[in-house]
Symmetry: C2
Subunit: 246 residues, 2 copies
């Protein structure tokens, strides 16, 4: 660690600020291909073992261990030891939101087909930290906006009065959410280039879908599988037609 090493220079705006150095430290953590792959893998909100993540990063366990330690130290990851495994996950929703923002910037200026997820299953339905993304996520968001249950814009979103009643009917609880009115956040889907629902609302919708067995996680994947029951219910409840996967 070089101790700030300020070089004075005439006519400068502002010398090396310590907040910028912290920014650099955090950004550098995500700025390595191996670490970026680990972070992208953890973006679905689940916890993975060090070994699994070393595979995802394409490096040996020793190397991954160093990366994981560094990211944990930097506050990006949190670790839970369980037996001889160590489960790593994103340290906080703020980290997920930061990665979201970086993915949005990374996807700009590149043709979608060169950037987005390559597999059809990924494009169809996947999780993004704690909510749905892909065509499933975008379709649900579109349907809710069309029905007037939520309002989405670049800057944010809201659940309308009608929306609150709708979600109460469909068994999605938004009333227990602290901070007064329930809100939702738009998350720019980098494969669809469209908004889907993040925030508390997105998380509760996804949780509810898992709970009712409408969708299932695929093993060792970030993609999710819509069950036959789910296809039926998505059509009935949201008016969303889910294509058959594969």
């Amino acid at each position: 660690m070089s101790p700030l090493a300020l070089r004075t220079r005439a006519g400068q705006i502002r010398r090396m600020s310590s907040t910028a150095n912290q920014l650099a430290a955090v950004a550098a953590c995500a700025g390595d291909p191996a670490r970026a792959n680990i972070l992208a893998t953890l973006m679905d909100g689940r916890a993975f073992t060090a070994g699994e993540l070393s595979g995802a990063a394409g490096v040996t366990p020793q190397t991954a261990s160093g990366h994981l330690a560094r990211m944990t130290e930097a506050g990006l990851l949190s670790v839970a030891r369980q037996g001889r495994h160590r489960y790593y996950r994103l340290a906080s929703p703020h980290v997920a939101q930061m990665l979201e923002g970086m993915l949005v910037v990374a996807s700009e200026g590149l043709p979608p087909e060169k950037f987005g997820p390559r597999t059809a299953a990924m494009r169809l339905a996947r999780t993004c930290y704690d909510h749905f993304a892909g065509r499933l996520g975008v379709s649900i968001a579109d349907s809710l906006v069309a029905a007037g249950h939520v309002v989405l814009s670049d800057d944010g979103g809201t659940v309308t009065a009608g929306g609150r009643a709708f979600f109460a009917r469909t068994g999605i609880d938004l009333e227990t959410h602290r901070g007064g009115r329930p809100a939702c956040r738009p998350c720019l889907d980098w494969s669809e280039r469209r908004y889907h629902l993040a925030g508390v609302l997105g998380a509760r919708i996804a949780a509810s879908c898992f709970e009712h067995g409408w969708v299932r996680r695929r093993p060792r994947e970030r993609t999710v599988d819509v069950t036959p029951l789910g296809r039926k219910r998505f059509r009935e409840v949201y008016g969303v037609q889910i294509e058959e996967a594969r």
Copy 2:
């Protein structure tokens, strides 16, 4: 550039994804102290010349030039040539939002006094891309929330019906904003650890304050100065008491 270099390995989750590599490329751009200082300087939304930015980064103009070229290439910056100067600015609001997210993560886990802006003027009032931050920004947000003009939560924010009337009265136009209802976005202030207003609403408020001469930019600084008129009007309109700077 190494051409993907996949190493196959048994039991792995998912090999090196190209989206993660793009993520790494963007993150690496911000992951260097000199570049992070440049980005932090540009976070106030203005454009600076290459020379000014080299001073802010604490490196020679040659070095800064390379950094600026790289960030422009990566889509983080845009450049406008004007005479013998080249003005660099953040390429898009998405980039500002990404940096916002990184600053929030960078500020977590560090005591505020070790992280935040050091100068009193910075803590008091500064710009954050296109809106106010610091105590000024937080106070305005608090006041609007207390008056019931806006609702803020972790996930987003809204302008209430009463708020729309209030802003119309105070000469802040929100009706010409596309996308139906005006929305606002909470921006976590890393010095105050509190939310202030970003998004269209935050930008319009700041623009209006500059326009009416309530605040002025300080030369060569990211801080803003509240004029005597501004102190009076902030008290009258928002009920916000602005401390005398210095």
